[in-house]
């Protein structure tokens, strides 16, 4: 594919994706249907970051599972580089699986405690490629250096790492197969503030180096404002707001987006001054 085609065809496009879950209510009661995602569409160009924002239960993680082919949507189309993807089990090509990777929220839960880091990183290669063990080791060591760890970490176990380091390992694992699209499901929400900054910097560097496209799922608006090119706000399974970062943050059109902005704590000096003045007036 040439560069011009790349610009014309969006990396990822979804059309009217729906996901329903059927919840059994008991032996003689009818099933309850939960509409987790109610017809969401968007287009995302290569090398850009789309942030999906919403509170727990709004369907953002369900959408992440659909985008990474873990779950099959009830209805709707999913196009990667302009080609529709058949997400039925068994119909997905290995190449497609390689193109899309995911990083999960909790780096303590997403790494096998009995697997050495070298094996964590080597496993995708062992399954998907015909590389020799020596080659795999070399690639894994290279990747460790790229995400800011060192070759000496190759033989260590996950419990020997801090949360931020584990998230770096999870990112390295996702990048082993040279994916084009990375779905990041709350990648920094379990991390401390200073570590969060380091991981966000790393993600920005990797995006530049590999030309990655990010779908960044988060509930933290300050992080979204920093990292996103486009923003989508979800509320009860619906995309209530979708647009460029500037448009969404400067002129939110939906009432829920405004509520969300108003609820976000402000850490600037003017707001603190205003709060202290209010408190004095009430006292």
């Amino acid at each position: 594919m040439t560069a011009t085609e790349n610009n014309a065809v969006p990396m990822l496009e979804i059309r009217n994706i729906k996901q329903d879950y059927h919840v059994p209510q008991g032996l003689f009661k009818p099933e309850k249907v939960v509409h987790a995602v109610k017809g969401v569409s968007f287009k995302l160009d290569a090398g850009k970051t789309l942030a999906i924002v919403g509170e727990s239960g709004c369907g953002k993680s369900t959408l992440a599972r659909i985008l990474t082919f873990i779950d099959q949507p009830t209805a709707g189309e999913l196009l990667i580089e302009g080609k529709p993807v058949d997400t039925r089990p068994g119909h997905l090509s290995a190449e497609m699986r390689r193109k899309v990777q995911i990083v999960f929220q909790n780096p303590y839960g997403s790494l096998n405690p009995r697997q050495k880091i070298g094996d964590v990183l080597g496993e995708p290669l062992a399954i998907n490629t015909k590389m020799s063990a020596a080659e795999r080791r070399e690639r894994a060591t290279e990747m460790l250096v790229k995400v800011g760890l060192g070759p000496e970490h190759y033989n260590r176990y996950p419990h020997m790492f801090s949360g931020g380091q584990r998230q770096r390992i999870a990112i390295a694992r996702a990048l082993m197969l040279n994916p084009k699209l990375l779905v990041l499901d709350e990648p920094v929400s379990a991390l401390d503030l200073s570590v969060q900054a380091q991981v966000l910097n790393l993600l920005a560097d990797l995006q530049e180096e590999f030309g990655l496209t990010y779908v960044f799922i988060s509930h933290d608006l300050s992080v979204v404002k920093y990292i996103a090119d486009e923003v989508m706000v979800m509320y009860y399974g619906e995309a209530v707001e979708y647009g460029s970062r500037e448009a969404v943050f400067e002129a939110p059109s939906h009432a829920y987006t405004r509520t969300l902005f108003a609820a976000t704590p402000r850490a600037d000096v003017e707001s603190i001054r205003a709060r202290i003045a209010r408190k004095k007036a009430n006292a």
């Binding site: 509170e55 401390d192 503030l193 200073s194 966000l200 992080v223 920093y226 704590p265 850490a267 709060r275």
Partner: protein
């Protein structure tokens, strides 16, 4: 006289490699009607120092302090019985995980009435009336019906409201809130913070807010203590802390906030502190 007055508190735990200082010479005091925020990242000892005050640390912890006074009484000299009378009545605590801190086997009504029975010696009818009053105060809908609910029947935000109701049931002089909103969505966080602040103003309680979120600090605190690796880095009133932070670590924390990002990269702690300072946590 300060409500809570702690001088030079040190908490140590024995590990395989010797005694580990979780809290290292921290002094703090809270007056009645004051909101003190203790801010720090994980492992900074912010929770441990408050658990030591509440007497909730296991017997393996070695607690030393020059002074540990609550309302002028030495907390360390209390007998177990005296301590039980104090904790939960004059000094109460709210924890991070609202769903985990309630007992799943009992209704929330039972759990709040237990406090009223033990500490206030109220009769059955009186307890019920007071429980309904408290639930109304913390903004739970249908309070009378709600008393018969179990924790699993409620959302995280509702459980946290129940926890707050239990904590303020005996009109405590001092309320310690340990990351009260970390597990909650941002709109719920706003509601809970507003509730805590209005209760604090109404009852004139001393409130210690333990948090890692600079936004929460900016929205609630009168005075702030910044902790790092068990040591107090800086203590200042909220406005001067945000306006002109004196300590390198505080400056690092503030500039790691994504909303304070200048240019392409976020600054990290290592931009502000030398490797020695990072390791030792010196001033």
């Amino acid at each position: 006289m300060a409500l809570l007055d702690i001088q030079n508190l040190t908490v140590e735990f024995e590990t395989a490699t010797g005694w580990f200082k979780a809290v290292d010479g921290v002094s703090l005091s809270v007056d009645e009607g004051e909101v003190l925020a203790i801010v720090g990242e994980s492992g900074s000892g912010k929770s441990v120092s408050m658990l030591a005050v509440m007497g909730l640390l296991p017997w393996t912890a070695k607690i030393t302090a020059d002074r540990m006074l609550f309302q002028g009484r030495d907390i360390r000299a209390l007998s177990d019985g005296e301590r039980r009378k104090l904790i939960g009545k004059d000094m109460a605590m709210i924890f991070q995980e609202p769903i985990a801190s309630l007992n799943p086997c009992f209704t929330v009504g039972f759990q709040i009435e237990e406090v009223l029975r033990i500490h206030m010696g109220m009769g059955k009818k009186e307890r019920r009336a007071r429980a309904i009053e408290l639930f109304t105060q913390v903004g739970l809908p249908n309070p009378a019906e709600r008393l018969n609910h179990f924790p699993h029947q409620m959302s995280g935000g509702q459980c946290q409201r129940v926890m707050i109701a239990i904590a303020i049931a005996c009109n405590p002089k001092l309320l310690i809130a340990d990351e009260p909103t970390t597990a909650l969505d941002v709109t719920i966080q706003k509601q809970i913070l507003d509730l805590l602040m209005s209760l604090q103003a109404e009852h004139g309680m001393g409130l210690i807010m333990i948090t890692h979120d600079m936004g929460v600090v900016a929205e609630t605190a009168d005075r702030v203590i910044v902790q790092y690796k068990g040591r107090k880095m800086e203590e200042a009133d909220v406005l001067s802390l945000f306006e002109a932070p004196k300590n390198a670590y505080t400056r690092a924390l503030l500039s790691a906030l994504p909303e304070n990002a200048t240019g392409e990269r976020l600054s990290t702690v290592s931009d502000f502190m030398t490797a020695d300072e990072l390791a030792g946590g010196t001033r």
